[in-house]
């Protein structure tokens, strides 16, 4: 059964053009769905719509976001906030800006457990300590007392991952969680997310540009182009036989990670033009 089910979601910039066109996408319990597409396609918007953090300038025009069988868009804002806070989490893109610079790491993990979920302070602290261990931070006791600026980007992303898993959410949205990091660190962080996802059985909506990552981490894949889902496949099927010409071109344009330069092809202009026309016609 799907934990998250986005149904025919359309959104636009207020007084402007459409951003999302009739998007449907499911993430089953414990499943990892990749969300790929070129820059500006609307990948982040989908994640933000689910978590209720769309920019003020963006409005949803139609559709449903079913979370655990409840349509989030039909809930009053306060209830929606609490439902999302209790069952979902975000692993943000840029660990350097996603931690509050003036607060210690420890409270940034524990506060919401206490404030929102009603845990005791002690239980939350024990949980934070255990989680820092899980994300392979040595000396967790010391790190909990440090401030963000004292830690490297990789360390901060580990902390944000720990924080995302802290309340055993059913769904995590990871929006390009490694692009802001050093190439050497990217792999470790990816492995970490994948390992925690498996161990905790968390459903994951994984926004990325990298089909190599998709092939390793995801079971399902949605390809987005100009706000429209042009392909929704099992990852194995996608790599064997992409259904949509744009997906095929995207696949051809992706370097094989065994030999980064082999088979590197730009997406042909003709394909792009064809997809544009298709999307424009709805």
């Amino acid at each position: 059964m799907s934990f998250l089910s986005v149904r025919n979601l359309s959104a636009r910039v207020k007084g402007g053009g459409p951003l999302l066109r009739d998007v449907s996408l499911d993430v089953a319990v414990g499943e990892v769905r990749g969300l790929v597409g070129e820059s500006g396609a609307g990948k982040s918007m989908i994640g933000k719509a689910v978590l209720g953090i769309l920019p003020k300038a963006v409005e949803i025009t139609s559709g449903q976001i079913m979370l655990d069988g409840v349509d989030l868009l039909a809930l009053p804002p306060a209830q929606r906030r609490i439902k999302v806070g209790a069952t979902c989490a975000l692993i943000p893109q840029d660990p350097l800006t996603a931690l509050n610079p003036s607060r210690r790491i420890g409270v940034q993990i524990t506060d919401r457990l206490v404030d929102i979920l009603g845990w005791t302070r002690q239980r939350a602290e024990e949980r934070a300590l255990a989680l820092l261990g899980e994300v392979q931070i040595t000396e967790p006791t010391r790190v909990l007392r440090q401030y963000p600026h004292e830690l490297s980007g990789g360390m901060r992303q580990r902390i944000l991952i720990a924080s995302a898993f802290a309340a055993e959410p059913k769904l995590i949205v990871a929006d390009e969680p490694t692009t802001a990091l050093d190439v050497t660190v990217q792999k470790q962080i990816l492995k970490l997310i994948a390992a925690l996802q498996v161990r905790h059985g968390t459903a994951l909506l994984f926004v990325t540009h990298d089909l190599g990552v998709v092939s390793k981490v995801c079971q399902k894949l949605s390809v987005l182009y100009a706000g429209k889902v042009v392909e929704d496949s099992a990852v194995a099927d996608f790599f064997r036989a992409p259904k949509h010409p744009y997906s095929a071109a995207l696949l051809a344009a992706t370097p094989k990670y065994t030999d980064p330069l082999a088979g590197l092809q730009p997406v042909p202009e003709a394909v792009i033009a064809a997809v544009r026309a298709e999307v424009a016609h709805g």
Binding site: V84, A89, L90, P92, D94, N100, P101, S102, I116, Y147
Partner: protein
């Protein structure tokens, strides 16, 4: 370690600043026209009388000589004797200082509460009519100086709807059990809330007059920083965790947005203290500022010098305090 170095540097610059202030004040008040001695003597005093009295106060010596005598005295804690009041300057000044401090701090607290509330409300209800209304009110508050606010308040709450006192520090007929000159603080400590109320009803309007422009400045700057902070990633992350908008503003945005405002409040607080001179006069409040005006009118040179030095000490002290608080609140500075 870095903090200690900064501190030592600040103490040295403070000392130099104070010396500079002392020199300037000393010389300026001696070259502007007006003779304190002539003002003390009754009409028809002879030139000889004037010369005698001038010698008594040492005003016959050259200005650098006078400065040396006064300066060595000050270093030993002797600020001279007031010409008009015939009492040691230090005693007079320290006796009045608490009244001014209580008024200034009350005004500061009111400015922070009013300005802070305006900024938080404006941020919570941003891009609505309420924010627009707050902006307009702040614009008005800023375009009128504190002493005019004083007049407006006297007119409204003293004359039209006389609910507050508009003159003095305390009702003269009251028996005061105080041993210090910090009346308000002491009345609170002694749990004599009847006296606290009387004091506050005297202080409220002058404090409000001082607070209104500062409240507007705090409100504007803090709202601007808050609104900028509200776009940052960690604020967005807190939203996804289930925090309400109000809670996000209060516990995530405010601690970071407050730093620029804090620096500004420090600088503005010294202006506010400067404002007490006229406001105290307006409300006949027996503080340092009121005394300063009398001293200037009477050309009471030692008293003017003492008051100015004390104001300078307060100003530099406030600035030092702000810098230290800033360092303490900003973890990046604290760890060097």
């Amino acid at each position: 370690m870095a903090l200690l170095q900064t501190l030592i540097l600040r103490v040295i610059t403070t000392a130099v600043t104070l010396l500079g202030v002392a020199v300037i004040v000393f010389f300026v008040i001696r070259v502007v026209p007006g003779n304190p001695i002539a003002m003390m003597l009754p009409p028809g005093a002879t030139a000889e009388d004037i010369a005698n009295l001038t010698a008594i106060y040492g005003l016959d010596k050259s200005i650098p000589q006078q400065f040396f005598i006064w300066g060595t005295g000050v270093l030993g804690g002797d600020f001279g004797t007031s010409i008009t009041l015939k009492q040691p300057v230090l005693e007079l000044v320290l006796g009045r200082l608490p009244a001014t401090l209580e008024l200034s701090v009350l005004a500061l607290v009111m400015a922070i509460v009013i300005g802070g509330a305006a900024a938080l409300t404006g941020t919570r209800l941003r891009e609505t009519r309420v924010e627009g209304g707050i902006d307009v009110a702040q614009g008005m508050a800023l375009s009128v100086p504190d002493f005019l606010w004083g007049l407006v308040l006297i007119l409204v709450f003293g004359v039209l709807v006389p609910v507050f006192q508009i003159s003095g520090r305390v009702t003269p007929s009251l028996q005061l059990p105080f041993v210090s000159d910090f009346y308000l603080v002491e009345s609170l400590l002694r749990l004599r809330f009847d006296l606290s109320l009387d004091l506050l009803s005297h202080m409220l309007l002058p404090a409000l007059a001082l607070a209104i422009p500062l409240a507007a400045i705090i409100g504007q700057l803090l709202k601007q920083s808050l609104k900028e902070t509200m776009h940052l990633d960690y604020v967005t992350l807190a939203r996804t965790q289930g925090y309400s908008e109000a809670k996000v503003i209060w516990s995530q945005a405010l601690p970071n947005a407050i730093l620029p405002t804090l620096t500004l409040v420090g600088v503005q607080f010294t202006f506010l203290i400067g404002g007490t001179v006229i406001i105290e006069r307006l409300f006949s409040y027996e503080g340092l500022g009121n005394m300063a005006i009398d001293a200037v009118i009477n050309r009471d040179l030692p008293l003017i010098q003492g008051i100015v030095i004390l104001f300078a000490v307060i100003f530099t002290g406030v600035n030092l305090l702000v810098d230290l608080t800033y360092a303490a609140l900003n973890p990046r500075l604290r760890h060097g």
